[in-house]
Amino acid sequence: MRIVVLLKAVPVVGTERLTSDLRTDRSGTLEANGADEYLLEAALKLAETSGAEVTLLTIGPAGATEALRKGLAMGAASAVHVADDQISGSDGTQTVELLAAALGRLEYELVFCGADSSDGGGGVVPAALAVRLGLPYLSYASQIEPAPDGSSVRIRRLNPTGYDVLEAPTPALVMGTQVLGEPRYPSLRGIMQARSKQVQTWTLADLGFEPSAVGAAAARTAVVSAERPPERGGATVIRDEPDAAVQQIVEFLATRRLL
């Protein structure tokens, strides 16, 4: 069983900034996108229980290697980094084309990805990528169970009354949620072992793309304006012993007919 985990490198949460042309500023420190780490954790559990081989795939600037290094230290076997200065400013469609091309050069039964990214937050890539590759799309997985022979995969998706079970033949693309479980910390030994793991860097030429096909100039969507959300005021902070605090919260909600 070979699993490719799409791991985006995003600005450290809380430090996000837009550039003057309203694009995400990726010049600062990047970290692995939190939503993708849940899927990495799910993949690593499968690596432990059924010997799956986990490859990381990212598109991003040089700073994205930090996120890959962490993923390798957590236990992924290898990584692919698609890096090319021309890619900067690409939109969701172009990202999907690039990922599809990169996946075309990899062998896999499953592709895992998080629901969205903490920087752009478009949330279109998982479904669009599945469509582009003609893969079954299993979304919002809370549990992922591949068949022992790897020929199919079954997921659970939570619904308001319980959960749905979805099953599809592989290769397939699975988008999952935080219900899959908290990502592990890299172990110290894992950090040292990551040094000798393979990270392949692919350029646009490696993927057979013309530079003019990607980047801001070729993007079909653009951000026209961005505004800060209005400050939220008037928060009521309750500091008390748990029992007393609960009572106050219940009263607060009850007076507003929220209970």
Partner: protein, 398 residues
């Protein structure tokens, strides 16, 4: 994980692996250690499962080579672990530091068999270690220890030793399984009689005495060790008879760098807390951070943290290069523990009444700092060590 300005400054000049290590330990300490640190202090409770979690991630094996079962990090990398753990919980940092301190001599001076038997469970954290040197009559003057080891069996090749005496202020003692204990085979020989022994919990004749009632690092319990004709097999003697003093001093050199790193982390935590408070707390129509007098205090705190970190890293790097570390370790430990005491005291002052309250962590930080000026060599002893080196160089230059 939000990178503060201080965190960025603390990560310059590190390797990629060291930065990921620093980030990992910070992440773990922020999420797993910091939330319960105050409660553990209040209850004077060591939480073994937290230690085990750190062990699973490899903290207990960090500074040992991979071929010895360690994680293969440098000693500089170890100082990053100590800084980040102490930032969240000084008591847990000291537990970890003492655990490493009690392993280092076995790694450095043990036989192949001793390393295998003794280090295995300590590297994995299944066994917790303690370091038994201090006695009621022998603190700074460690050569004056009275715990006596009598040879049993053939002279020249004893089968065992019968150890009688007591140790005080032994950190980790109540919870440890492995103790590195120093005793003398010849009380008249001074430091030349001191010998190191590997002692296990449950050995007949060994029991714990009174639990120490401490001002700080309360979640790192310390206790008295009592030996009443405890029989230690000869294969548990570490190094030769009379080598114990050298073994102890060498281990303490490394331990002092580790303590210095913990103090740097503790001081950094107090500095960051104070800086946040100055920007949030308002008085006289503006945030406290607009008061120049308070800004001066904050800057002086930052100066002390930076100096502590620089000397600590310099000492660790000297160790990684295989150079003598005595003087560098003393400078680092003395500077960093004084910095921690001064910075945490100033943090309490900047917080005002709330800083004096046990509801906020700065008073705990201040109590946790004090001990570090005393243990692993009082800061007065460190002055003597430094002066001796300075005078030695002066004599050599003449």
């Amino acid at each position: 994980m939000t990178a503060t300005g201080a965190a960025v400054a603390a990560s310059t000049g590190l390797t990629d692996e060291e930065r990921l290590l620093q980030e990992t330990v910070r992440d773990f300490a922020t999420r797993e250690l910091a939330p319960g640190a105050g409660e553990r202090d209040e209850a004077e409770r060591f939480e073994r499962p937290l230690f085990e979690r750190m062990a699973q991630l490899g903290f207990t094996a960090a500074p040992f080579p991979e071929e010895a079962g360690g994680a293969g990090f440098s000693y500089r990398a170890w100082t990053l672990v100590m800084e980040e753990v102490a930032y969240a919980d000084m008591a847990m940092a000291i537990t970890l530091s003492v655990h490493i301190l009690s392993q280092y001599p076995v790694f450095a001076c043990g036989t192949e068999e001793q390393r295998r038997r003794w280090l295995g469970p300590m590297l994995t954290g299944e066994a917790l270690g303690a370091f038994g040197l201090t006695e009621p009559h022998a603190g700074s003057d460690a050569s004056a220890i009275r715990t006596r080891a009598l040879r049993i069996g053939v002279a020249g090749s004893p089968q065992a030793y019968r150890v009688t005496g007591s140790k005080i202020w032994i950190s980790n003692a109540p919870d440890a399984e492995r103790y590195l204990v120093f005793a003398t085979v010849d009380p008249d020989a001074g430091s030349a009689g001191i010998t190191a022994f590997l002692v296990e919990k449950g050995m007949p004749g060994f029991r714990l005495g009174r639990k120490e009632r401490k001002m700080g690092i309360k979640a790192c319990p310390a206790a008295e060790l009592i030996f009443e004709a405890m029989e230690v097999p000869a294969e548990n003697r570490l190094g030769a008879e009379g080598e114990g003093y050298r073994i102890a001093l060498s281990a303490l050199g490394e331990g002092r760098i580790s303590i210095a790193a913990a103090c740097t982390g503790l001081a950094q935590a107090a500095l960051d807390a104070a800086a946040r408070h100055l920007t949030e707390r308002r008085a006289f129509g503006g945030p406290l951070s607009e008061q120049q007098g308070l800004r001066f205090m904050l800057a002086e705190m930052a100066q002390k943290v930076a100096a502590a970190r620089a000397l600590t890293r310099a000492a660790a790097e000297a160790k990684d290069r295989g150079e003598p570390i005595g003087e560098a370790a003393s400078l680092a430990k003395w500077t960093a523990s004084d910095a921690a005491m001064s910075v945490t005291t100033d943090a309490v002052q900047l917080f005002g009444g709330s800083g004096y309250s046990r509801e906020l962590p700065v008073e705990r930080m201040m109590r946790d700092a004090k001990g570090a000026q005393i243990y692993e060599g009082t800061n007065q002893i460190h002055r003597l060590i430094v002066a001796e080196q300075v005078l030695k160089r002066a004599a050599e230059a003449r």
